[in-house]
């Protein structure tokens, strides 16, 4: 049996990893053009990561409500900047969507990064960070509905984190 090559992949020293989230009946779900899988974007050397994420999300899905970088780590031979992107439910359309599953955080050692970091752990931290922003950042608080504040109540608020 012939095995397909790995296929085209995003390269570059800085990459953005987007987790597109929305509220369905009060529960947080993951969606995007890659379904619930991380959506990887290349960030050119002259580009600002936030600008890239905002522009591509707007072009592919529609205008986002919140775009926020929540963590970084070393992976895929690059620095990966993780973003939580909040969108309105009407933008989900036919994109695949799955409820967010909770996970324990990937904790660093005193002087070293965690050895393995699962995507569920990155999302967990991203939503903890969003829970912190909705309390601490008046801009984010103004953009997110009371339903979002309620959905984030079970997340321990955390500021930005280096995951690895």
């Amino acid at each position: 049996m012939t095995r397909l090559p790995d296929g085209i992949d995003v390269e570059g020293p800085v990459q953005a990893e987007d987790f597109v989230v929305w509220l369905r009946d009060g529960g947080i779900e993951l969606t995007g053009p890659c379904g619930s899988a991380p959506w990887i974007l290349e960030v050119g050397e002259a580009e600002h990561p936030v600008d890239v994420v905002t522009r591509v999300v707007r072009d592919v899905i529609g205008p986002p409500v919140v775009v926020h970088s929540t963590s970084w780590r070393r992976d895929r031979g690059a620095v990966i900047l993780s973003f939580v992107v909040v969108i309105d439910p009407e933008l989900v359309g036919s994109m695949e969507s799955e409820p967010v599953t909770r996970a324990d955080l990937a904790r660093s050692e005193a002087t070293a990064a965690p050895r393995d970091i699962a995507h569920t752990q990155v999302v967990e931290h991203g939503l903890r960070h969003l829970a912190w922003l909705v309390r601490d950042d008046p801009v984010v608080a103004a953009e997110l509905s009371p339903a979002w504040a309620g959905a984030l109540e079970t997340y321990v608020p955390e500021p930005f984190r280096a995951l690895g």
Binding site: M1, T2, I8, D9, P33, W39, I40, S94, M95, E96
Partner: protein, 72 residues
């Protein structure tokens, strides 16, 4: 035997067809969905004959799109 080829993206997207169409669709997918540029040579280097693709993944349902646009 025609020269139909298949290219897939690690995100799950996949397209098949004549080389020119596959190159165009893959280039559009990479730029639009991943903000990346790839040359024709890079794209063709990742392509496989469609029969090899079928052997590797019999049946339907591989990937999320065959049209050059991510459909979610």
């Amino acid at each position: 035997m025609d020269d139909t080829i298949t290219v897939r993206c690690v995100c799950g997207w996949e397209t098949s067809g004549p080389p020119d169409e596959v190159v165009a669709a893959t280039s559009e997918h990479g730029q639009r969905i991943h903000n990346m540029s790839a040359t024709r040579e890079q794209i063709l280097a990742m392509a496989v004959p469609v029969n090899d693709s079928a052997a590797a993944a019999p049946g339907e349902g591989r990937g999320r799109s065959t049209s050059g646009r991510a459909s979610g």
